[in-house]
């Protein structure tokens, strides 16, 4: 009995010692922090080819110089998917969340974010009001991104005898058919991964939310459905593009980067993507002229740009250095040089901030200026947010269209999933 008790004590003590050791190592940054007399701000950021870790390190360097007591540590996502949201969820579960988050977040994540002050540096940022949830500002963006853009190969248009970019969806379909008839190009470049749903939303959300800007919110309340909206019409159009061979039937096996290469190398005639594709297209120096037009509408009237705030930042409630974290966010979204650096990186926009833009970016700027406002992209934001996982589900539903599902099946699947997942 005594031996058993002693054994139990040894096991418990060793367990506790190990747990303490683990806890101490998890807090290692803080200890280092205190030893240096510096406060370390950990910022988890969205890393892309245009926004590598080194970009963020350069971005925050002037802030660190101006605040000698603060050290900003940039962290890339550690989730296998490379996704910021998934990494944050994992870190929250492990209790190792950062001080700041750089990247698109969801309504669920708003629960763990600190409320930003009601000051001009917050309220003057793009889409500040729309990003609020229950009138609480928990994230703020440095720029505006436009997504309802159709890039096109001018040589392909000329070869097919197309004089002007289309304004309506019917005209767009006719253009794609002419290109197919002329030969030599994939009329519309689509891809697998997240691209399938993104491109569809970039086109369809602009049309649907033209009249119902808060469509996601209304769908959650059950006031609208996919079956009774222009989504149905757009899915039918999309399906007809697949059936008529206007997109590659093997598009599901194409990755995002490859779809960009297909367009810049002259294999595809048109490519639907957000303005972040512009720096990549410019860098590729295509051997043909590249033009861009806004997503077409059913009636020919200009549609709002699917998009919203870009270069988003939030401060986590659990941060021990909240004041410094707010200072950093203020710098990132209001310092002239910092904002400009972010605009250039992805070809984003912001009223009152200008930079040496490429001709293609200038064309996009004209489209943005002419657009009657903006509507949500992806899973939405603020109060107008889709249930978590919507974009991933939409990707599956749309990819099934390539595999034989009908438009009716796709629409039914959309309504079924939303109803089952809305909270």
């Amino acid at each position: 009995m005594t031996t058993t008790r002693r054994r139990f004590r040894v096991i418990s003590a060793t367990g506790l010692a190990l747990t303490a050791l683990l806890a101490a190592s998890a807090c290692g940054g803080e200890s280092q922090d205190e030893a240096d007399g510096k406060k370390t701000l950990r910022m988890l950021v969205n890393v892309t080819p245009a926004l590598p870790v080194t970009f963020y390190e350069d971005l925050v360097a002037p802030f660190e110089q101006a605040h000698p007591g603060v050290d900003v540590k940039i962290e890339a996502p550690t989730a296998a998917t490379g996704n910021v949201q998934e990494t944050l969820t994992q870190q929250l579960a492990a209790g190792t969340e950062p001080d700041l988050l750089g990247g698109q977040t969801t309504a669920a994540e708003a629960k763990v974010m600190a409320t930003l002050p009601n000051e001009p540096w917050v309220t003057d940022t793009p889409f500040a009001k729309e990003l609020q949830i229950d009138s609480r500002q928990w994230t703020v963006g440095a720029s505006f991104q436009a997504q309802s853009l159709v890039f096109y190969n001018k040589d392909a248009f000329q070869k097919a005898g197309i004089a002007a970019p289309p304004a309506t969806v019917d005209e767009f379909t006719a253009v794609l058919k002419k290109i197919k008839q002329a030969g030599g190009y994939t009329p519309l470049e689509t891809a697998g991964e997240w691209v399938t749903a993104a491109q569809f939303q970039q086109l369809a959300n602009a049309v649907v939310m033209q009249n119902e800007p808060n469509w996601y919110s209304k769908r959650t309340k059950g006031e609208v459905t996919f079956a009774n909206s222009d989504y149905k019409r757009y899915v039918e159009v999309y399906k007809s593009w697949i059936d008529d061979g206007l997109v590659s039937k093997n598009a599901n096996g194409v990755k995002y980067n490859d779809s960009l290469v297909d367009f810049t190398s002259g294999k595809a005639a048109t490519y639907v993507m957000g303005n972040w594709a512009v720096p990549t297209i410019d860098q590729a120096k295509p051997k043909f002229g590249v033009g861009v037009f806004a997503a077409p509408s059913f009636d020919g009237k200009p549609v709002p740009q699917v998009g919203g705030a870009g270069d988003l930042y939030s401060v986590l409630n659990s941060s021990k250095h909240k004041a410094e974290a707010f200072e950093l966010v203020k710098y990132l979204v209001s310092d002239k040089a910092a904002v400009q650096k972010q605009l250039v990186a992805e070809g984003n926009f912001r009223t009152g901030f200008s930079y040496q833009a490429s001709p293609l970016t200038q064309e996009v700027q004209k489209i943005v200026d002419a657009a009657p406002g903006a509507v949500v992209a992806g899973d939405g934001f603020g109060d107008n947010t889709a249930p978590s996982g919507w974009s991933a589900e939409l990707t599956k539903i749309l990819q099934k269209l390539y595999l034989g599902d009908s438009a009716e099946q796709a629409i039914a699947a959309m309504d079924k999933w939303w109803t089952g997942n809305a909270r």
Binding site: T14, T19, T89
Partner: protein, 280 residues
């Protein structure tokens, strides 16, 4: 002496399993500080979850076909490269190489080869062909995934079989030769029979590893097209972190753990019988 090992098991295995078990009875989304206790609700949902059932079928196909072929190939190659010789030494290293490359890298590598715009299809297009939808069509995508998994795993099975072959007593082979056994009889009745414990280890390890396939799916197909190559682990992680349903994901993880345990015990029991037959 046992205490440190038990403490490690407690901290790194039993406590996480306990936490997963608790979370599986809640509706935790990863953000709410106090998840609501919902009893067995998550477990009830599992059997009505159509994509999960599909992911289970895909996982089963990968685990069974992958285990059989990775082992058959591993054993075959081990027999070929067993023994002295510079060429065999180089071949052993080269054949083991795929296993030491990370699964994510293997996935990206093969997607560059098999993708719609990949190396194989580019050659086919250049030759005037139409291309093969390796990753764009569900059946092809599953076949491609399983083949890549076999490619990534046969190296380690080969090394374990080689280790087993090198411990076989030479006098038994000589006795078989003297008795007039041909090559097949020597292999089947002597070598393979004596390798029974290694076969057991290889089958169990490969099966467990393939039941948890994740990174390769992520990098090669991203679960597509249309979610048709999602494995259970891939689905669990998507549900948990992308869809914010950690409680439900934990329930699936607990169930997967139980399935792996049952499969491992069953497989080991089956093989133990085979080993006993050899010993007899």
């Amino acid at each position: 002496m046992l205490a440190p090992a038990l403490a490690l098991v407690l901290v790194f295995i039993l406590v996480p399993i306990g936490i997963a078990g608790y979370l599986s009875l809640t509706d935790w989304d990863g953000f709410t500080p106090r998840p609501e206790f919902i009893g067995w609700e998550n477990y009830r949902r599992i059997f009505d979850d159509e994509p999960l059932v599909q992911a289970a079928v895909v996982t089963l196909v990968i685990a069974v076909v992958g285990t059989l072929f990775a082992n058959a190939l591993g054993l075959g190659l081990a027999l070929l490269v067993d023994g002295p010789g510079r060429f065999k030494a180089v071949a052993r290293g080269a054949l083991f190489y795929p296993y030491i490359i990370g699964a994510v890298i293997i996935g990206f590598l093969w997607s560059a080869i098999l993708g719609s715009n990949g190396a194989v299809n580019s050659v086919l297009h250049a030759l005037g062909g139409t291309g093969i939808p390796f990753l764009a069509e569900p059946t092809w995508a599953i076949i491609s995934l399983v083949l890549v998994i076999i490619w990534a795993n046969f190296g380690v099975t080969m090394v374990l079989y080689l280790a087993g072959l090198q411990t076989l007593p030479g006098e038994l082979m000589e006795a078989a030769l003297i008795d007039g056994a041909n090559a097949w009889q020597t292999f089947w009745r002597v070598k393979f029979a004596l390798l029974a414990p290694v076969v057991t280890i290889n089958l169990v390890l490969t099966m467990i590893s393939l039941l948890r396939t994740y990174e390769l799916v992520l990098a090669l197909t991203a679960g597509g097209p249309a979610g048709t190559t999602q494995t259970i682990t891939y689905y669990i992680l998507t549900i948990s972190f992308a869809n914010g349903k950690l409680g439900y994901g934990a329930a699936q993880a607990v169930l997967l753990m139980v399935v792996i345990l049952v499969v491992t015990v069953a497989l080991t029991a089956m093989r133990r019988r085979a080993e006993r037959d050899v010993a007899a």
